[in-house]
Symmetry: C2
Subunit: 198 residues, 2 copies
């Protein structure tokens, strides 16, 4: 394949995006060749500035627009509830539900001893400080329902137990709109165990 050097460079740079292999990167690169310079400039200026324009809030770890963190409002602080999530991207689907109005706390990962991620790599100490600062009454654990998510949830429960606050975790059960025979055994077992009066 005799791609010109700059095209190869372009393809290699695009392949760093998640789930993008050679074929997709080639497709993107050829498409971008047809873009007006204005589109290219808009893309480059946007990409260049993301670390400046999208910083993590020092307190909760969520993304803040310019100066202000929209998730550390007085109203949310008064709710006295913190929802613990592992990374920033989980915040937005939760916000979209409109079901939760409290504070957030980004852990920065999940416990994974095999990958060298121990409790010291997660922002658990700052969580404890915030619990004290805002007189938090409940911690809602919204972590993945995976092995790492389960381990991290149990660890948090153990760590926060002595503080005398309620810890809760998102419910497990059937996802909405799913036929019973398409649901996996693990989910079905948990849905049975947590069945409620109807």
């Amino acid at each position: 394949m005799q791609y010109p050097l700059h095209l190869l460079k372009m393809i290699n740079v695009l392949k760093r995006l998640p789930g993008v292999g050679s074929k997709s990167a080639e497709r993107y690169a050829f498409h971008m060749l047809e873009w007006p310079q204005e589109y290219l400039d808009e893309m480059t200026s946007t990409i260049r500035d993301i670390h400046q324009k999208l910083q993590q809030c020092d307190e909760c770890g969520c993304l803040k627009d310019e100066q202000r963190c929209q998730f550390c409002t007085e109203e949310r602080q008064q709710s006295q509830v913190i929802c613990v999530i592992s990374s920033i991207k989980e915040l937005f689907p939760i916000e979209t539900t409109g079901e939760y109005k409290g504070l957030y706390h980004v852990l920065g990962g999940l416990l994974s001893p095999l990958n060298g991620i121990g409790p010291d790599k997660l922002s658990i100490d700052s969580l404890k400080l915030r619990i004290e600062k805002w007189q938090i009454k409940e911690i809602v654990i919204a972590l993945d329902s995976t092995l790492e998510g389960d381990a991290t949830s149990l660890y948090l429960k153990k760590e926060l137990g002595p503080l005398g606050i309620t810890t809760s975790r998102l419910a497990f059960g059937l996802p909405m709109g799913s036929p019973i025979d398409y649901v996996d055994g693990g989910t079905l077992a948990r849905a049975f165990a947590a069945r409620c009066k109807f």
Copy 2:
């Protein structure tokens, strides 16, 4: 959804890539948030310069690296064959086969009256000039096997016929490695019509 403004801008910019919808753009954006500034800079400098670094050759329309067009070599000119393709991206799969060693000519599209693309929008005049200049003996038409590709091929055949050169088109038939019962009727019919002694 309360995405920070810059994240929204990022997502909108990424959605201009072909086949990238909101979900993929979000995924890319969140992934890029974790990139070091070095990766971001590399991407932006590469994207910004594509129009400067990858220009079309004035003669054949292929992409050239910096100054030199690697497809307008003396060796290729002496072959006295031109392969007509509709856009730059078709060149590389053809080159990869190693089957073709002649010149290329990028038409810049396919005839499509409904979309306002008539013969005047395609580089047919410059093709005729090149046929004369390099005393071309054969034109290989490597256009899509679609309605537009067929129409453009027929048009080229009609236009170039009076010049007294051979025009050929890529063969139609079974793609390699395909079971007969998976091949569509149109392809099968063409493979029957063009069957050869065995």
